[in-house]
Symmetry: C2
Subunit: 351 residues, 2 copies
């Protein structure tokens, strides 16, 4: 089957996805019978272009990487994202524009628009999921399309895949873990290399895992957004990020890390959401001293971890070690494959 796809967002994640699509085309064809045709690319600063006969992905990558506009490609230029969505005849959209932690916009609006037009949607953007999971899921079901978002938590590790496919009929009572890799990297450098908070932050910025304005990570917002997503998806809660009790790591000094170590403990930015029955969920993100014997103490650098406590498996834990540049993009590719395989449909298909 041929699937027309469009890339809404062509930053680091979108471009890694484009490379993955090219390098895995044979596997997609042989293992899953999928032939992809990229009919639209929308960028933040290099224009928006559509072509129902397919765009030259290699050329699009080269153009944008060299800072050029997409107008060098064969296709029709669109004025803005709205016009792009309107003019792009794609079966499935990959959305990876930057996350807005206040209200998830404009991606939330784009998601409504796309699902409402019966387009499948794969997003790596935490905004629409944190602010609109229930609404968007219902909209996707109404329109009989897929709405998947594996890459919103722990990059491409199959966290949502496990919830959807691995724990059917089980009830999740608690979700916990370490979801923000920037703060975990900073804490690890402080404890292993005795860096001050400021120096560890600079080191994170130097290797490109912390932004110039690092407050989204440092103050726990990114972790709170991911905790919100897991609470709402795994426990059918209806939280918003601002409702998560949130303490970041800005106040943690090297001395705190060293004193914890002297007591056999490590400081981790622990995320937790607990259900006290009937979908009443309380969530928090805060630095916690965990014992060396705790699995979370062994989570260092950019590695991340999630645990699901359920009514049937007492605890199921997943760890994603050292994600690479393609892991987030891989989560989006896996979502696409799973939508094509009908995994967004949970109704019986037998008989």
């Amino acid at each position: 089957m041929r699937l027309n796809i469009a890339l809404l967002g062509f930053g680091n994640v979108g471009r890694a996805l484009a490379e993955l699509i090219m390098s895995r085309s044979e596997i997609l064809h042989q293992q899953f019978g999928i032939e992809l045709c990229v009919v639209g690319i929308s960028t933040g600063r290099h224009g928006h272009i559509v072509n129902p006969n397919g765009l030259d992905l290699q050329r699009a990558l080269a153009s944008v990487q060299n800072g050029h506009h997409l107008n060098v490609l064969d296709g029709n230029l669109m004025l803005d994202t709205e016009q792009f969505i309107d003019g792009c005849k794609s079966d499935l959209f990959f959305e990876s524009i930057p996350t807005n932690p206040q209200d998830g916009q404009p991606a939330l609006g784009y998601a409504r628009e796309l699902l409402g037009r019966s387009c499948h949607l794969v997003t790596a953007n935490k905004g629409p999921v944190a602010f609109g999971y229930h609404e968007l899921s219902a909209l996707a079901a109404e329109n009989n399309v897929g709405f998947f978002f594996e890459s919103t938590v722990m990059d491409g590790a199959p966290v949502h895949g496990v919830l959807r496919e691995g724990l059917p009929g089980a009830t999740v009572n608690r979700v916990s873990g370490i979801f923000n890799s920037t703060t975990n990297y900073i804490l690890t450098r402080m404890e292993q290399d005795h860096l001050s908070f400021e120096d560890a932050l600079s080191a994170a910025q130097a290797i490109g895992i912390a932004e110039t304005d690092p407050s989204l990570d440092i103050d726990g917002w990114d972790a709170a957004i991911k905790t919100t997503i897991l609470a709402n998806v795994a426990m059918q809660a209806d939280l918003r990020p601002a409702e998560v009790y949130r303490t970041g790591i800005r106040g943690i000094a090297l001395q705190d890390v060293q004193q914890a170590a002297s007591r056999g403990k490590r400081i981790r930015l622990v995320c937790e959401a607990v259900c006290s029955g009937d979908h009443a969920v309380t969530a928090r993100v805060a630095p916690v001293e965990v014992d060396y014997s705790d699995t979370m103490a062994g989570i260092t650098g950019t590695t991340s971890i999630v645990s699901f406590d359920t009514d049937i498996l007492p605890r199921l834990t997943m760890i994603e070690y050292d994600p690479g540049p393609f892991t987030t993009a891989y989560g989006m590719l896996a979502d696409m494959i799973n939508i094509v395989r009908g995994r967004s449909d949970t109704r019986p298909v037998l008989r």
Copy 2:
């Protein structure tokens, strides 16, 4: 939809499954639209019975738990398993007879028979999967039915679910972990309570996690069988359990455990299968001294762990903490739900 099911095997796992089916009937109906009707039960020592109109599961449980024959139920008695398979008109069979580590029989033959008759098959029995995975998968695909076996490795933790649904298109290069809980319990008791190997084994037998003849666990056979299954499923190898380099823990003395501890290490029965390209896989099971900082060192008691190293996620690890009596049965229930949802089909369904 109504699904006729049959239980082939009614020991600890089969009976736990029966209880789960009863206690989760509302969830199965509400969340998945499934109504189950048990049309056959085959036991090792209490007879074989079929009834196309449904058997009284509660009564069957009570009978067998009290040591009685199933002939107290309404239905037609069958002489043996072969006649049971022939006479039981079930859409899906749950198979949980004991594992034969030599050749997987007679379960392997039953699996051929059932899949050849276009019955869906869910098995918790390691034998047929370790000795016939490729053959049985092909047979299931030919007959357009599901053949799932989540509970063969790490109880009901979604290990196979993650391979099938969470890592599509990825290539697994290495599988490793701790797959046998009896030996891990023994090693944990030796290191934590300074028990001799013999006393720790007796303790495992006392709580019912080691058999009277514990050689299958102690000598690494169970671990080798599970390693075979994962190598064949995750890396398309074609191993048999006897081809796994295998050393058990019979030779481990308390002194070894204590000397390892004095070097900051713990002894774990580590399972590993490594692909050196083109499905050429080497596998081994052996006691290994792992560093305290290794995640495997923190795996104590009956907890188990598996790691997949892939070409795209450098390492994905899953840990199942403290499985309860229903976790193996839950894996079978999850398999059934996933078969009903069409998850055994990987072909595109879009358009």
